[in-house]
Symmetry: C2
Subunit: 305 residues, 2 copies
C-alpha cells in the first residue's frame, strides 16, 4: 500500500511597509516550496503588510481589500499554476467600517475554497487588533479542500482550546495558524523564553488533545511603529507538530525560512485509537463552557486573594 | 509586603498489593513534606492500592471503601496533626454496585473539605477503568480550602481541556491531578517518549490556557497483573508547572520522591493581565462543545480518508 502522505510547507519571512515587496517574498517562498513538491502551503498572518496593529491609525484601513480581491486573485492564479493549495491571511474589507482578519484558502484550480474570519481578537499594548478587526461571524468551520479538511485558525485563536476542539469536532484533519507574535524588548530574556515556549506548548497541547497535526506560521524580523513608540521582534519559529504533539520541524527565530514537512495522514487514526478522547468527552457536563465565568451563586468571591 | 507563597508537595511512590504498606509510604512522604514546611500535599491516584484496573475482577471491589471511611479518617487525623491540607485519591464505594474513582480533600482541622469524582473514565488495554468506576456526577467544581480553591481532577481528565477550563472558570487557583500512567513494554522507546512528553505537554497547555499553576502526581514502579497478562511501568515524573506552563520541578521517572515546590500565588494575576484569555473567549460560539461530534448536515463524510 502506498504511504498516504502530504507535503506541507510554511513560508516565514520578515515584512516591510511595501506591499509588493511582501507579496514577492511570499510568492518566492511558495514557488520554492512547490518546486520541492509541497501540496499545501501556509503563509504567515497578514503577510502582505507590516504589522500595522502596533498603533491605532484610521489610515491603515487603506491596507484592507475585499475577498475576492486583487491579492486573493493573484494567489489563486499562483495556486492554479503550481497545482497547490494555499492558506493566505489578508486584511479583509467587508464594508465601509467593517473589517476582518481573514484567512482565505485557494484551491488548486485557482478558486476560493473558503475563508475563516479570526474569531478571538486580541488587544494588548502593541497588538491593538480590536480597533481594526471585527470578531469573526462565521464560527469555527473547517474548509474542505482537495488535500483535506483544513482547520484554519489565526494567531490569538491559538491560545483557546475551544477553537481547536470545535475544528476537530467538525472533522478538521489538521490545524493551521497564520501568526504574528513576537518579543517586547522591555521583557527580560527569561520572560521572553517563557512566552515563546508557552506559545509552542499550548499549541502542541491542541494537537495532542485532538489527535491531529498542527502547523503555525509566524513572521520574523523587527518592526517599529510609525510613531516609534512600539517595536516588536517577531520570533519566527514556525513549526509543525504531529498528533502526539511532537515537533516535526521548526524554523529559526530570526530569519526567513521555507519549512517543509511530510505528514503521515494515517497517523491521526492510529493515535486516536490508542487515545480515544472523543469517545469519552463528558458532553453532559460541558454546558458552562458557554459562560463568561462560573460565578459563585451566593456572591462568594471565587477568585481568592 | 510579604511574599504570598504556598509550599506544595507531591508524594510519588511505588505501590504493592499491601494496603498498609502503601498507606505507610504515603504517610511517610506526607510527614517528610510537612516537616519541610509544605502546606498542601498531593498524593498519587489510588495511592493505597496496586493498580488493580489492569484486569477486570469483581473481587477487587473489596478494595473500595466509603468516604468518610477508614482511610479518609486516618488522613484527616494526619492533616490535623500536621496542620496541612491533603489531596488523596481513593476507590470510593458509594453503594452496592456503585463505585467511583474519587479524590478527597482533607482540611487542616481534619474535616473533609470536599470530594471530586473522576468525570472522564478511560478504558484501554491495561486500564479497564470503565468496569470499576461509574463516571462522576458532581461536575467540575473546585474545592474551597484554607490554602486556596483547588481544581482537583484525576488522571484521564488531564487529556481534556474542557475539564481544566471549567475548573478555572469556577475560580480554581491551581489544577491538581492524582495520576497512574505508565509505559507498555510492547511500545518502542521512541513511542514511550512521545507518550511521556505528550502527557506533560497537554497539561502544561492547560496551565497556559487558564493562567494557573498545575501539579500532577504519578506513581512509579513496575506492576504486574495477577494473571500475568499485563504489566505497566508507571513513569513517575510527577511535576509542577507555573501559569505560563514552565516546569518548576519534576520527580524522577523510576523512584519514590517527595517533590517540594514554592508557588508564588500572585503569579496568576500577573500572567492573566498580559494574556487575558478569559476576556476574549467567544462564548457566543462555543455551544457545539456539548456535541459528541459536529456531523456534516448533508451526510457528507467529515472525517476524510
Amino acid at each position: 500500500m502506498p504511504k498516504n502522505t502530504l507535503l506541507l510547507a510554511l513560508v516565514q519571512h520578515p515584512c516591510t511597509q511595501d506591499y509588493q515587496d511582501n507579496l514577492d517574498r511570499s510568492f518566492a517562498g511558495i514557488r520554492n516550496a512547490a518546486a520541492k513538491g509541497a501540496k499545501l502551503i501556509l503563509l504567515q498572518e497578514l503577510h502582505t503588510a507590516h504589522y500595522f496593529c502596533q498603533q491605532e491609525q484610521a489610515a491603515y484601513f487603506d491596507l484592507a481589500e475585499s475577498i475576492p480581491g486583487p491579492t486573493s486573485e493573484q494567489l489563486g492564479h499562483l495556486a492554479q499554476e503550481l497545482d497547490i493549495v494555499i492558506v493566505a491571511s489578508l486584511f479583509e474589507r467587508r464594508a465601509a467600517g467593517l473589517y476582518h482578519n481573514t484567512a482565505v484558502v485557494l484551491e488548486r484550480d485557482g478558486s476560493i475554497a473558503g475563508r475563516y474570519r479570526k474569531m478571538h481578537i486580541p488587544d494588548d499594548p502593541g497588538y491593538y487588533e480590536k480597533f481594526y478587526f471585527s470578531p469573526g461571524d462565521m464560527g469555527f468551520t473547517p474548509i474542505q479542500t482537495s488535500v483535506g479538511k483544513l482547520g484554519v485558525l489565526i494567531c490569538w485563536d491559538q491560545w483557546f482550546p475551544e477553537a481547536a476542539r470545535l475544528m476537530a469536532l467538525a472533522g478538521a484533519e489538521i490545524l493551521l495558524y497564520p501568526t504574528a507574535i513576537g518579543w517586547d524588548a522591555d521583557d527580560d530574556h527569561a520572560e521572553q523564553q517563557r512566552q515563546y515556549h508557552a506559545w509552542r506548548t499550548v499549541q502542541q497541547g491542541h494537537a495532542i488533545a485532538n489527535g491531529i497535526p498542527l502547523a503555525a506560521c509566524n513572521r520574523c524580523g523587527i518592526e517599529q511603529a510609525d510613531d516609534h513608540h512600539s517595536q516588536i521582534q517577531f520570533w519566527g519559529g514556525s513549526f509543525v507538530a504531529d498528533p502526539q504533539g511532537e515537533i516535526l520541524a521548526e524554523a529559526p527565530t530570526d530569519s526567513a525560512h521555507v519549512l517543509l514537512v511530510e505528514l503521515d495522514r494515517s497517523r491521526s487514526e492510529t493515535v486516536r485509537r490508542i487515545w480515544p478522547y472523543l469517545r469519552d468527552r463528558r458532553i453532559d457536563a460541558y454546558a458552562d463552557l458557554s459562560l463568561r465565568y462560573r460565578d459563585a451563586e451566593d456572591g462568594e468571591k471565587t477568585d481568592a486573594p
